[in-house]
Each structure stands twice: as C-alpha cells, then as structure tokens.
Symmetry: C2
Subunit: 250 residues, 2 copies
DNA sequence: AACTTGAGTGAACGACGTTAACAATCGGGG
DNA sequence: CCCCGATTGTTAACGTCGTTCACTCAAGTT
C-alpha cells in the first residue's frame, strides 16, 4: 500500500516545487511577468505540464497566496517569540504587549520587503475564500489571523486588559461579533491555548478586528505607495499607531 | 485661431467618452473583461484607434482611475454638504463632525457599490503617482485627499478640537509630518478655505492620516471580502470605528 | 486645387492561457 | 517477465490579448 503513497508523495513535492518557483518568478519578474511559460521554464518543463497539477493559472496563484500566508504566519510567530525572549520573563504585561508589537512590526517589514507577494496575498480580489470561509478554514487570511490570535489571546489571558464590557458596545455590534467570538474560541481551543471563555469577550474580538483594520490599512497604503503623497517615511506614523493601540490596552 | 481649438475640443471630448465607456466595461464585464477591443467596440471603433488617444492600456486605466477619484471626491463633498443641510446650523461642532461622518460613510457606501472601480483606483500598484507626487499633484489620491481635507479642515477651523500638542508627539513623527503640514496649508489656501496656520497643527495632520488609514483599512478589507472570515455584516464595526474617531475629537 | 494633418481601419506579430493528441515512464498483476 | 493502465510530460494548435504598421479618407490650410 506504500506504492500509491509513493506516487502521491512525489506529486505533492512537485506541486510544492511549482509553487516555490512561481513565487520566485513573481519576485524577479513582477506580476506582469508571472506567466505559466516563465514558471514552467524555471522548472525545466513546458507550460501545459502545469495543468497536471493545477486546474488553471488562478488556481495556482490561489495556492501560492495560501503558501505565502502560511509562511508569513510562521515568521510573525517567530518574531513575536524572539521579542519575548529578549525581555525579563517577570516583566508582566509588557512582555505580552511586546510580543504583539513584534508581530505587527514584522508584518509591516515583511510587506515592505515583499511587495509583490503582499499584493498577491492581501490586496487581490481573486483568491477570496470559496464562500463558506468559516471556522476550520485553511485559506490564507483565516490561517494568518490565527497567528495574530495566538499572540493576542496570550495577551488577553495572561494579563488582565481593560476593554469595554459587552454592555458598553452597541447591541448590533455585539450581535455581529458574537458568531466570530465563538469561532475564535474554537480556534484557540483547537490550537491548544488554554483560555477560559470569559477572557475572550466580544469587546476583545472587537478590539482585535479594529486593530487588524488599522494595521492592514497602514501597511497596504504604504506598500501600494499611496502614502507617498504625504510622507517619505511612514515608520513614525506606524509606530504612533502601535503606541495608540497600546494605549487602548493599558 | 478657433480652428485648432475646435479640433482640440472634439479630441478632448473623445478622450472623455473613451474613459466613460472604459468604466462601463469595467463595471459590466469585470476587470478581466476590460480589453481594448471591448472598449473600442462599445464606442463603435476598433482597438488600434484608442492608441490615437492613449499611449497604452495602462495609460488609459490610469486616466480612468483619476476620473474615478475626481468623481468620488465630488460625491463625498456632496454627501457631506447634504448632511450639514439636515442639521440646525447653530448646533456647533456636531455639524462639522456630522459632515466628516457623512463623507466617511459615503466613501464606504460608494466602495461597496463600486467594487471594481474601488480596486482599480485604490488597490492597484499600477497607477501610482509618477514619483514626485507632491503639492499640486492632480493624481488620484491627492485629489481625493483634498475632498477629505475640505471637510476635515472645516472641523478644525470652526470648532476647537482637542488634539495632542506638537510637543506631545515623538520628534521623528513631527519631522516626518512637517513637510506634509506645509502641503496641507498650501492646498487649503489654494482651495480658498480661510484658515490660520495655528489650526492646522502637526497633531491635526497626524490625526488626519491615522483616520485615513483606518477608514481605508476597513473599507479595503470589506470590499476585498477579507472580513468575511469574521463578519457577515461589517457595518456595525465601521460605525464603531467612526464613533471611536469622534471620541478622539471630543 | 494641391498639400498637410489627424482619425480610423484591417492585417499582422508575438505572447498569453488553455486544450487536445500523442509519447514515454513507472508500478503492480498475469 | 512482460504487458497494462495510470501518470507525467511533450508538441501543435486555437482563440484572444496588447500593440504596431501601412494604408485610406475626410477636414483644414495655403
């Protein structure tokens, strides 16, 4: 029975190799130069061979975008862990805040260093989820959100954070967020992070989504070059955004 | 001498007609169906004729994106003015805040109603400014920012708003923002809005850019469908963001 | 009336995504 | 061992794309 498994293994390896070379072509030749023939040539193949592995160019790009999100999620977790390692473990909540900051800065740095990949994975309509992107979805954004949730939930769980109580939020906001709160709880539990239900409040997921929108907004504007009309260097603006977020948490 | 001017007029009219039909094709057939042949067919022409008016497909799309920004800027100003008209003029600063809110809501509504145009004008790398997008730049984003500046500066000028003094901001942030502050002052003066220099502080432009990043971040995520992993309806989240912005202004 | 200029056409080029028909290779069962 | 079916790759080709070129034709100038 290892025989079909063997075939399967080399097939999966080829698929991965295709995605890696696709990323390489994306980086070196830009999005316009990202043709099937260029990808195949880099692999020593011809373009139609790619159709043995992916149903279409869009399928392939979707898979690559998912790869990018996975890799980025790992980098964020690593950057976060590294930042924690540099601090005294007894330094209470500052450690957790530093972990979140490190992940945010790593996201910005990565995006600026990999603009083409950022646009493909985070600023394209193409590779949106297949409609029912819910709880266990492995698609790009959800998987990537999990990385942020990891550090964020730690911050919530290990140190009491002042956030608006559910009663202070407008009822329609609570209603809109409640399903996602359940998703977060499931995701966190599945990830093995021990956390009681009371710590992940609706206010917490609200803050999380707002923070994500700010982070994404800044980084997307900067990567797309749409801050240049105002700023040469957007880093101080980014840092002040982080400081403002931290202020909400104090 | 009216003869060459006449030629010029019909030429300009044709250029505009081309851009209008380009938008129509973008809306009806989507970005993938936006081919030169489709555009030309809608005009009763053939594709090569378009090259008499635009040097390339990208040139044309850039011009269309600029058109979109101009139109949107007008809509935002109109929505803002309409909201002001609905209130008692004596209602102090609430009027100005309502004007800003109306512009923000109009931006979101427009983006959701015109996703393809939003992506073309606000989420593409292609049509970035020709590098020196500075003071008098007529390119998309700057022109569009002017519309927001209009309502924002009113808010600043007519009613004292509590914003951090320049000394409270990190010095590198002040340094990064000071050139843009001058640009804003010039833009505002050029637009005929009477405002003293003291009202447009570095803190004010800082708040303006932060607010723009939040607004853009939310709307882009929503239009690109990247909130769906969490929310069915992002409007309550949007409204809570506006409320939070207003809180910073109180 | 001859000449210049500008707008528009049709044919064509090279490259693209994709499909179809065909060759080679590989693993498992008589 | 050898043949068989599946898998993986090839080449040739189709239709469409952006773009260029050579050409026509009408309008305006002198």
């Amino acid at each position: 029975m290892s025989e079909p498994a063997r075939r399967q293994r080399v097939r999966v390896a080829t698929e991965q190799e295709i995605r890696e070379h696709t990323r390489a072509v994306l980086v070196t030749r830009g999005r316009d130069g990202l043709t099937l023939r260029a990808i195949a040539a880099e692999l020593g193949m011809t373009a139609p061979a790619l159709y043995r592995y992916y149903g279409s160019r869009e399928d392939l790009l979707r898979a690559v975008a998912s790869d990018i999100c996975t890799e980025l999620a790992g980098e964020l977790a690593a950057a976060s862990a590294a930042a924690v390692g540099e601090l005294e473990p007894a330094d209470d909540r500052r450690v957790s805040i530093a972990a979140v900051f490190a992940a945010c800065r790593a996201f910005r740095r990565w995006a600026l260093a990999h603009p083409a990949e950022f646009v493909l994975a985070f600023a394209s309509t193409d590779q949106a989820c297949p409609s029912d992107c819910a709880a266990g979805c492995r698609c790009g954004h959800a998987q990537f959100a999990r990385a942020f949730l990891g550090v964020g939930v730690r911050l919530l769980a290990e140190h009491g954070i002042r956030l608006p109580a559910d009663e202070e939020l407008p009822p329609e906001l609570v209603a809109a967020l409640t399903p996602y709160r359940r998703t977060v709880l499931d995701t966190v539990a599945e990830a093995g992070i021990a956390v009681t239900d009371e710590v992940v409040t609706v206010g917490a997921v609200h803050f999380f989504l707002q923070a994500w929108a700010r982070l994404y907004g800044h980084v997307a504007l900067e990567v797309l070059g749409q801050f240049r009309f105002a700023l040469d260097d957007a880093e101080p603006l980014f840092e002040s955004m982080l400081a403002d977020l931290a202020g909400h948490l104090s």
